[in-house]
């Protein structure tokens, strides 16, 4: 499964969810597949997507659609505190989708630890509910299953190395992202976010 294929599935499944997306190729490929107001692209701050998603999950009521974080292996390894913190705080409405291609895909494709360190087992040890897949069909099925389960959920998806070609850089002013994402939250979940 290529990252772009995984993102097509996720874009389709998350139209009603707040989505926090890690930086660089993942953000720009998701925006190329579907740019939407419910996407909170982190244009930098590598490693912070899981923390931001955790904060959002704590800030909206448990009955709101799950906050979905789309993270990469290199980024997660830059801030692995996301796993014990998420497991400890245990927001019931947090779903972290890890797209693991085994490399720092946006910075020269140098290897991450993931060939030797099982990130799904790390998440499981930190009290996340985990599922793993390496196919488009499996990704869709696991996502739908985990959306029905309370507790911090971790969907490990093995993807192929490599970035999509001819995808434009994401040159949005981050303030614009804040404005449109916050507005989307207010409009979609007004009773839940103190609008």
């Amino acid at each position: 499964m290529k990252r772009l294929e995984a993102l097509r599935v996720l874009a389709d499944l998350t139209s009603g969810h707040p989505v926090v997306v890690t930086c660089a190729a993942t953000s720009r490929e998701l925006a190329a597949v579907k740019d939407s107001d419910n996407h909170l692209y982190l244009l930098d701050a590598m490693g912070l997507a899981g923390s931001v998603a955790t904060g959002l999950a704590l800030s909206v009521p448990p009955n709101a659609p799950k906050v979905v974080c789309i993270e990469g292996d290199g980024s997660l390894l830059m801030n692995p505190n996301v796993l014990p913190t998420g497991g400890y705080l245990a927001p019931p409405n947090l779903l972290l989708v890890l797209l693991d291609n085994g490399v720092y895909g946006s910075t020269g494709a140098l290897p991450t630890y993931s060939a030797r360190v099982n990130l799904a087992r790390l998440a499981e040890a930190a009290a996340w509910i985990t599922r793993s897949t390496d196919s488009v069909e499996g990704l869709r099925a696991a996502f739908e299953e985990l959306c029905g389960i309370d507790g911090p959920a971790f969907l490990y998806a093995r993807i192929e190395e490599g970035n999509a070609h001819d995808v434009a850089k994401l040159l949005i002013d981050p303030v614009t992202i804040t404005t449109r994402f916050s507005r989307w939250l207010r409009q979609e979940h007004a009773s839940e976010v103190g609008a």
Binding site: L48, V52, A53, S59, T178, F181, L185, V193, A195
Partner: protein, 177 residues
């Protein structure tokens, strides 16, 4: 009211809806007061959350702002070294209000022979990045600390950015380290 209680009450008075903290012996009384006034115990309450590192605290508590409300972080000033990328490329760049109270180290009352190397320059470092810094010490009352913390939260919301309050507990009723 103790200085620690003044800080805790000031954070609530600023309408912070959630507080994340990274422990230090100096801010432990602040955290205990926050937890107690929020109906919790042993460092945890419905709105007060322990976190493992300052960087993630900026992410977790900064995210509260997307819901139109204010988050707060309680920490120690040397931890800003762990948090600068998150503060700048996330909270500042995305215009997210955030109230940060940090106790200071490395000056009067300090026993540690090296912590001044990061704590001493920190107010200037933070200002160089464009963060407003309010500095408090023994020269003002606990009531003044309360108002300064409260108003810093108001200022963060009004200016759509993090505001840092640095508090030196030396020669107050608190302890430095």
């Amino acid at each position: 009211m103790s200085y620690a209680e003044a800080v805790a009450d000031g954070i609530w008075a600023a309408n912070a809806v959630r507080v994340g903290y990274i422990p230090s012996v100096t801010v432990a009384p602040v955290i205990n007061s926050l937890v107690a006034t929020d109906g919790g115990a042993d460092g945890v309450s419905p709105r007060v959350t322990p976190l493992s590192r300052e960087e993630e605290a900026i992410g977790v508590m900064g995210a509260v702002a997307f819901t139109g409300r204010l988050g707060a972080v309680v920490m120690q000033d040397n931890g800003f070294g762990n948090a600068l990328t998150a503060l700048t490329t996330f909270a500042l760049s995305y215009h997210l209000p955030l109230l940060i109270f940090a106790n200071t180290r490395g000056s009067l009352g300090e026993y540690n022979s090296m912590i001044h190397s990061i704590s001493g320059p920190m107010p200037g470092v933070l200002r160089a990045f464009g963060l407003p810094v309010i500095e408090l010490d023994r020269r003002s009352s606990a009531a003044d600390w309360h108002e300064a913390v409260r108003e810093s939260g108001v200022h963060a919301v009004m200016t759509y950015r993090p505001v840092v309050v640095l508090g030196s507990f030396w020669n107050t009723d608190g302890k430095v380290a």
